[in-house]
């Protein structure tokens, strides 16, 4: 049997939209090697920089928020971003676990 947890993130996105916020949905669409969160994991970001949910174990969320904020200002409605193993420099954003992930960012809008 497959159980998932009852994700409330889309309900939260809906509440933000009702508050007239621009909201981006981030979805983990591909993973290679060991990745902290499975494919299908969701995170949302709004134009105030608030975020909810997760796409990693906290390793790349900060960078995802920044990319989402850029997308909010952009005329494009979506983009794909990738993160690889973090290198020697501890200041680099990356996955310490040695995995790779691809994340799809998309705006909620009237039409696709």
């Amino acid at each position: 049997m497959i159980n998932t947890f009852d994700e409330k993130i889309l309900d939260e996105a809906q509440q933000w939209i009702e508050q007239k916020k621009t909201v981006i949905l981030a979805t983990v669409i591909q993973t290679w090697g060991s990745s902290p969160r499975p494919i299908g994991s969701l995170m949302i970001v709004n134009d105030s920089g608030d975020f909810s949910g997760s796409v990693s174990g906290g390793c790349v969320e900060g960078e995802v928020v920044r990319q989402c904020m850029d997308l909010i200002k952009d005329k494009d409605k979506f983009k794909k971003i990738e993160f690889k193993v973090s290198d020697e420099s501890a200041w680099n954003v990356g996955l310490a676990c040695g995995g790779e992930i691809a994340i799809f960012l998309e705006k909620f809008s009237d039409a696709a």
């Binding site: 009852d6 309900d11 939209i17 669409i29 494919i39 998309e106 909620f108 009237d110």
Partner: protein, 226 residues
Amino acid sequence: MQLNILQEIINLKNSKKEFSVITDTKTSKTYIFFANKPIDINLKSFETEINKLYNSRKDGMIKDSDLFIKHYHRPIKVVIVGAVHISQYFVEYAKPLNLDINIIDPRGYFASEKRFPNVRIINLWPQEAFQHCPLDDKTALIALTHDPKIDDPAIHEALKLKCFYIGALGSKKTHENRCKRLMENGFKEDDIKKIFGPIGIKFGGRSAPEIALSIIFQLMTEIYKK
């Protein structure tokens, strides 16, 4: 994702439906997919691959396409007999889990909506309650009244309909007596052995919230085994 699709996903989740969401990563256009409904014309050429991923319930990119599929699973039905203190904590802890909880208790003062806001409560004896809330092999039955008048008929029904998880509250002695009664009622030893009694994973806690936690842990373990 289109706003009308977002609303539709929320509605479908609230009505406990099983479906998938397909996103075209080249356009961000999103589609809702049901196994028993005709597929959108734009997805037609990927139908075989979509069905393959749908049947395996795996989230991921659809082979040789720009399409991503994510599944929304129907919650697992849990029937609790006894609107008792442990059940209140069970409901509280199970909130972030994808469980569809139904509580049966013929005693009106236990089965009050004030004690269980936002939970389906059936204020009837188990035999009558099961007409409104039928059991099957995909349902879990948790008996918590430790009153044989209420628990026993529920356990009978759960054994007959082969619930994937049957747990019953009570000490070892209480459970031994329960097993004896079940034998007298013609149930086979092999089936009776499948009942988790005393219910829950042993970790030392005996308070209502701790027992609730130990039941959830045991139930989730069984869910992933099946």
